[in-house]
Symmetry: C2
């Protein structure tokens, strides 16, 4: 599964903290888009989609949120509730977000600008695409050798 939890290095002391995310250093992609989600009502579910190509790094910089993640082999629940915990999300991972705390600010770094055509918003379509070939691009590369 293209999912990885990473520990981010904190710089600081008891007067305050700073965490830096740098492309090609501790972020394994070029950062082209940063978005943040806030003021989310507790009963709201967000996400419910997968991306065909996008790579993302998510951090709950304040508060907490739960991710339900699925690469087609079954769901995994991940809670983000620490600003030094990063969640790497690769391609073809269905995600649903819920249980936002009142103060939650979820920051996400992404390697592409917004592109509606990269979204799979129907779970049956997702299962069909991910089930037919987990890594279609790799398959093509292998066939070409």
């Amino acid at each position: 599964m293209e999912i990885e939890r990473i520990q981010l290095q904190k710089h600081g002391d008891n007067s305050g903290m700073l965490i830096a995310l740098e492309e090609e250093r501790n972020v394994p992609f070029v950062i082209r888009r940063v978005y943040y989600i806030f003021a989310t009502k507790n009963d709201v579910h967000r996400g419910r989609h997968a991306h065909r190509h996008l790579h993302q790094l998510a951090v709950a910089v304040r508060g907490s949120v739960t991710f339900l993640l699925d690469d087609g082999s079954g769901p995994v629940e991940v809670v983000l509730d620490d600003p030094s915990h990063g969640l790497m999300l690769g391609r073809m991972v269905w995600r649903e977000l819920y249980d936002f705390s009142d103060d939650c600010v979820l920051m996400v770094l992404a390697d592409q600008l917004y592109d509606q055509s990269d979204y799979i918003t129907d779970y049956a379509d997702f299962l069909r695409e991910v089930g037919g070939s987990m890594y279609p691009e790799d398959m093509v590369a292998c066939q070409g050798r």
Copy 2:
């Protein structure tokens, strides 16, 4: 002064909000580094430096913080207390940050990786560099014509 307050477009409704920052769309530079400052004690002052080349976009994604900004012509105070307010900081701007609220999370996008040599940490040095020529690179360019 290379300082600009910008209004960021909010996407959402009363169930939640999302703001996206995209390179070369609403961020006028390539995003190479994202850092965030949190858990800052209220009596702490941060910053107290200028950058020779770095461009940054700062957003208080949660809580509030006050910037004291100076391009050599005198200080200006800016309060960030809204996740849809961005503060563009160009090169050669002395900045000091204080009055962090307990819940403040300050997110900053930058166009360069961390580089200690880009910092001016002595205010007298800053005044000398900014006073001698506001835009030394532009001056060189003009002289070369």
